[in-house]
Amino acid sequence: MSSDSQASEGEVYSLNMGPQHPSMHGVLRLLLDLRGEEVIRAKPVIGYSHRAHEKMAENRNTLQFLPNTSRVDYLSGMIYNLGYCQAIEKLLGIDVPERAIYIRVIVNELNRIASHLLWFGTFLLDLGGITPFLYSFDDREEILDILDQVTGSRLTYCYGRFGGVTWDVDETFLTRATAFLARIRERLHMYKQLVTDNVILRERCTGVGVVSEALAKSYGVTGPSLRASGVAYDVRKAEPYGGYDRFDFEVPVLHEGDTMARFHIRIREIEESCKIIEQAIEAIPEGEILPKKMPKRFKLPEGEYYFAVESARGHFGMYIVGDGSDIPVKLKLRTPSFSNLSAMPETLAGTMLADTIAIVGSIDVVMPEIDR
């Protein structure tokens, strides 16, 4: 910036927020130009947790990339892990046993709820409400315990295998999951009383950080943030994968596009996920969890493939180029938070400093997913 423009803008100063800052989720760094408390420009600086997942994918075979996937987004690792499995299965034409399909749906949706609960907690923490954060962590812990039962890990699951899953679920798992659904519904009522109805929260969120439909589409914003802007796009409905077309659920849509709309969308998505889990538990068949016959090496046929799943944050796409060997020529991970965050500079300009925190919190970014 030249000294002329600085002088004409008056008392503009820049504030470096992050990468180590209490409310910058992970290691996001925001360079803010402020006039008083008003944000004039916001520039996200990312890349602090870049781990070269795409380069790693080009250097190892398809199976070896499996543990990487859940580490792309550690908050909905299951969705990424199973999403990658589903991509390779579709590519190679591997049939997944019925039971494995249902197990995958259950754990996926549990993971989605866990991710939304964590978002709920940290968002409230950004707004200064510490107690809801601990309540939601309590609920999330229950999910992690349930998933721990079958996956053996808490966050970075490596539960999926090409063709199925590693560990069969038992009766305890299903009863615990059912009990959890009852519990979370009760808790959602409590959250409504404690948080959603709260006048302070409503004041803080309503009309703040409006992402218009046009802006969202231009930046490729997906997931709950897009649905809060009035576009009913959910990969689970648009391109059903992994048996999601068998379940009856709605895609909640709101048109305000503000922080409050994003808040409501996620709460309602938790309810929809509960519905899916309920149906899946009802209908889960007995049987194998891995196909009997599997290829020894997962050789990718020559050509280009694109496969998308709906992660907790939006459209997670995998663009895979194969050349006949089992090592991909190119594996591009199109992560939702990356696009969602890229829309932030336009959204943040003109808001208050405190709103910046609320808005960045409300789009639910996970930095490792952006940096990959």
């Binding site: 990312i46 870049h50 380069k55 589409k217 663009y319 890229s342 336009e346």
Partner: protein
Amino acid sequence: MSDGLQALADLTSASEEMDYGKTGLHQRHTASLENVLKVGKTFLDEGYILEMLTCQDLREKEEVMRLCYTFNSLDAVDRHLVHVDIAGGLASEQFEAPTMSNLTGGANWQEREVFEMYGVTFTGHNELERLLLPEDADFFPLRKDFGRIEDADE
């Protein structure tokens, strides 16, 4: 293909239907560097979004750096993959393409990522800086000749 996309026929050198059930892509187009912005505008005007932009390093085999754009419609899934080849062999370092960031905001960061990972310069991009890598990085890690991650014991 919707009516608005008919204009693509003139702008692309090759278009082929793809097996969506298997590849997840509906059509594949090949466009020249001059036409890429027009192709992009055609899609965006039809309400498509730029879903993904990436690049493939094919300098060794085909002597090109290939930009891969996917456009998708949020209303009814219709995914188009657009290839744009930038000529240049292993020896060439300079690759240039026009920026799409003035048409759609989503291109902004994705082009920056392609720039730092593959060294493709997008002309007209107003903040073509490194995004994920350190600002002073002078290498392009996703190029095939950057090397591979060695095994631990090698």
